[in-house]
Symmetry: C2
Amino acid sequence: MGNADCVYPTSNVEYAHRVAIPPPQPFVKSLKYNLKETFFPDDPLRQFKNQPPSRKLILGLQYFLPILEWAPRYNLEFLKADLIAGITIASLAIPQGISYAKLANLPPILGLYSSFVPPLVYAMMGSSRDLAVGTVAVASLLTASMLGNEVNANENPKLYLHLAFTATFFAGVFQASLGLLRLGFIVDFLSHATIVGFMAGAATVVCLQQLKGILGLDHFTHATDVVSVMRSVFTQTHQWRWESAVLGCCFLFFLLTTRYFTKRRPKFFWISAMAPLTSVVLGSLLVYLTHAERHGVQVIGHLKKGLNPPSFGDLVFVSPHLTTAIKTGIITGVIALAEGIAVGRSFAMFKNYHIDGNKEMIAIGTMNIVGSCTSCYLTTGPFSRSAVNFNAGCKTAVSNIVMALAVMMTLLFLTPLFHYTPLVVLSSIIISAMLGLIDYEAAIHLWNVDKFDFIVCISAYVGVVFGSVEMGLVLAVAISLLRVLLFVARPRTFILGNIPNSIIYRNVEQYPNASTVPGVLILEIDAPIYFANSSYLRERISRWIDEEEDRIKSSAETSLQYVILDMSAVGNIDTSGISMFEEVKKITDRRGLKLVLANPGSEVMKKLNKSKFIENIGQEWIFLTVGEAVAACNFMLHTCKPNSMKDDQSEAYNNV
Amino acid sequence: MGNADCVYPTSNVEYAHRVAIPPPQPFVKSLKYNLKETFFPDDPLRQFKNQPPSRKLILGLQYFLPILEWAPRYNLEFLKADLIAGITIASLAIPQGISYAKLANLPPILGLYSSFVPPLVYAMMGSSRDLAVGTVAVASLLTASMLGNEVNANENPKLYLHLAFTATFFAGVFQASLGLLRLGFIVDFLSHATIVGFMAGAATVVCLQQLKGILGLDHFTHATDVVSVMRSVFTQTHQWRWESAVLGCCFLFFLLTTRYFTKRRPKFFWISAMAPLTSVVLGSLLVYLTHAERHGVQVIGHLKKGLNPPSFGDLVFVSPHLTTAIKTGIITGVIALAEGIAVGRSFAMFKNYHIDGNKEMIAIGTMNIVGSCTSCYLTTGPFSRSAVNFNAGCKTAVSNIVMALAVMMTLLFLTPLFHYTPLVVLSSIIISAMLGLIDYEAAIHLWNVDKFDFIVCISAYVGVVFGSVEMGLVLAVAISLLRVLLFVARPRTFILGNIPNSIIYRNVEQYPNASTVPGVLILEIDAPIYFANSSYLRERISRWIDEEEDRIKSSAETSLQYVILDMSAVGNIDTSGISMFEEVKKITDRRGLKLVLANPGSEVMKKLNKSKFIENIGQEWIFLTVGEAVAACNFMLHTCKPNSMKDDQSEAYNNV
């Protein structure tokens, strides 16, 4: 019963573009290509190609120690700039270091130790010119809350300290191995929205914790959520110390005023950079002169003179608390890494140089491994300090060396000066730094641009503030991943129509002037076809066909004869997806419709070919563009009688 | 310094297609649309539209009880077919039910109970015409291993039994709620590849467990992995019973022969369907006549006469084992559901009718809830039994009713006949059924078509066989999800070239005859742009630009001036993706290149517009097709002097 007129002129030049089936590649070759694209997208070995061995050695050393690359070009002008920047960040680093160490329930001196050795290591290995190394509030708080669940820092300070070093060691090992194993993309799973919400939540929590210092309370909850903290604060109103509170508010006002001023006039960056040290000096003087330490104003007390003692022997690898140390190390390590990389990258973007994420991870990781052996706890590149460094005009990582030397001098000679520093000043310094982390404008931007990102951001915030820091992080990452999975599980399908006066076919929702083609239903699938969406797509495609047939029935149009699937956006397909196509083919056959594919990509063509689906559908029914597919369908519609087509359909096409 | 010649003629008709920015939609409306597409892709309420209330009520009842829909059309011819099919599956259900109950460490009579009530419930509520309800080996084994970890079935049989009912109850509740909450897509995350590997692994494990029965061992390991089982078998070689082994091998040979025969001649389906019952009868007779039960051949023993006793009072909701019961219920429930839905769907596809996944879930869930209150354990639609039902020519779910009635008669009158049935025959029946589940051809197909699916399949198999059933499942699902995430995290980017004699631009790897355009780099991005891939894409795009510039340097071509990003396959974008574009814009600006977008979809345009990136790039640099973008670039390349362009680039375009 073959209808001779219905044979489609495959030789016709106008429709001669055929969809290519990529030549089969050996498995090993394609595996190698895929691994390279996954783990070495930046092709770091490119510069080593075609070089003599000696040059390769130098390049390799320079890869791991970038200082070898830039040190020979270093000059006096750079040094001048770096000196100013280094002294500025040192004046910020000293009070901040002490404050954050208190926040982590660690001896204050650790804050100074951590601003001495790690910056020196980073100066050798880091590739950022603007990153200023130091401890950060969020990681300090996390250390306190995660280790605090296991060991009480007041009851067993030695074990707690050793666990902190161990956690730092594992953080370093984890960070460095992420870099060495080229798994840096794990950090990418902390999206911008997650970080905005998480940082704001952590800043809120850190500020709440400072109520202890501001109100001069002795006992305070170990939990970080807002409910516990508020209960802790309001159940001991009789313990509040007004002297402490007044002092705290005054310094906070001073710090916030200088920050506000600097924000409006960035040239005077040094005012806000120096403000914390000024507060410490003023506060210490005040306490020393008024003996306020006897009237309820707590002070830091004795700080040991001298440089970092070695702490390699303090690392505990056999204790029953090892799991906690590893867990704390990994979580704080990832968060510190995310901040360090993001900060490094943004300043590199400003100054037009390139930062290699994996290399940075190795640098930050090594710095923490070395730090954990020299009485330091977790360090990274905090945003606030790096911004001061940048504004102070730093040129290279030498500013970190200058800072380290300044801290060294402090450790050697100036620690007794901090004896009378009131804790409430440290709390004010922390609060003032934290308020800058609550980026409500970014949250508003997220709401305006992408509601889902806003949900992720808010859930991170709510999780941190009402649950715990870890819960907020896990919640936000889980929701972000769910979004990716939902995108794949529920891809969009669109009806395409013809843009007037063209052979272009586009989504009729986006282009209302696009007109559908009578007798032809053109669908675009918007995502890779995987097991997670194959049943959905089958259901959705049949529903489109149902709806189209219903619509046609109610009007007097040509009955539906062709279903064209535009595969341009289908990046990949798996075996479930291929089964889905086979089922869709059966569904369309049953209804007397012809299934046509347009523009499948190379991956898709390869798999459709291997699974014999191309033979099933007929290669002549796969077109390079939707336009060509429609032209072919129109040719058939107008050459063949519709009735004979529907009845003899299978035979007619088998004869092609 | 604006160069008048460089103004691009936007009024030119040839290039007049503008990319539309979809009109802003109220948040609630788009949320509603998205929720509908996510949870109601099949639009189940469509048939209720524009119907009078009485009709709506009837349709609603028919939705939940499909029997109301087909019963009025039921006729004698259907009944004849269903009678034959029902009796055939009953003859399979009785021995299989007893065997699987033994596998689950439950009293054998539960296997018969479970083939009585649940089929009746399913006949009312199920929408499949071919599904034969019954217990399944894998879920039985899982019940045994998960509950067995908590309670020893031999030491505390009563508690174990009650936990099995409770687990069944929760499985039912979970299944029904998945259906009611329209979350059926969770089952889709068990991909075809996962199921092939998992089923083969479970079948291997179940066969290994039967060594206990075949070798007549009294003591046997509770673990299911191959290492433990082999150790258990070979440490007690002196306990092996040759009588039992010989009997087992004979029956296994008989069963496999009938299966092989039926496979080659599907018309004689009843031979393999009757074989298990024949084996039971022959085995029982043999034992009865030779008194083999006294020579090491274990028999079933006493089976209580009578119908299912109620067991609602036995459900334990307060026990310390509740968590185990819930966990077992959810895991077995999901696996049973996946099998039931897949089986229902494949036969519906054969016979050209439609199965609503969510409706089926409600039916299977209700059947298990009712079952758990009437002394049944987990049931679903096993593949083997449904295939027999289909081959026996069943027409409707009445075949399930016939089976239930046959089982009822057995329960009322025939249970004493099973007293002498040897356990080894049950083992042979299980092994013979399980061997059919090892679908090595499907695994070979996966290897040929999609290596990644093969890895998923093998890891499920290895996880089940060497670890545990749950581990295999978790492993396979985790790898499947990792694949989806990897697709999003590492999207492909291609260079596009012009297909000769056309304005079509395609991937030069797939179409080697496509030629690149001098001075223009055209890149296609193959996936949605999300936080997970935005850094990767930024790196990859700059590497493409680097490589292209290197290539041009070594040849004598026109220097690179334009980078066109083809966004056809970018289904969505989030705020991290938009930041990525902003950074890419900076990178290209810095290198004196012009960034051009082609064919962004509606979601992408909406978000680029909201984030003001369109203003940043200039709307005149966003084109509907790559062809039009290239035409515009070529126009500019040939109209403007390249040098003046590179220098005055920003001003020149600001004047447009």
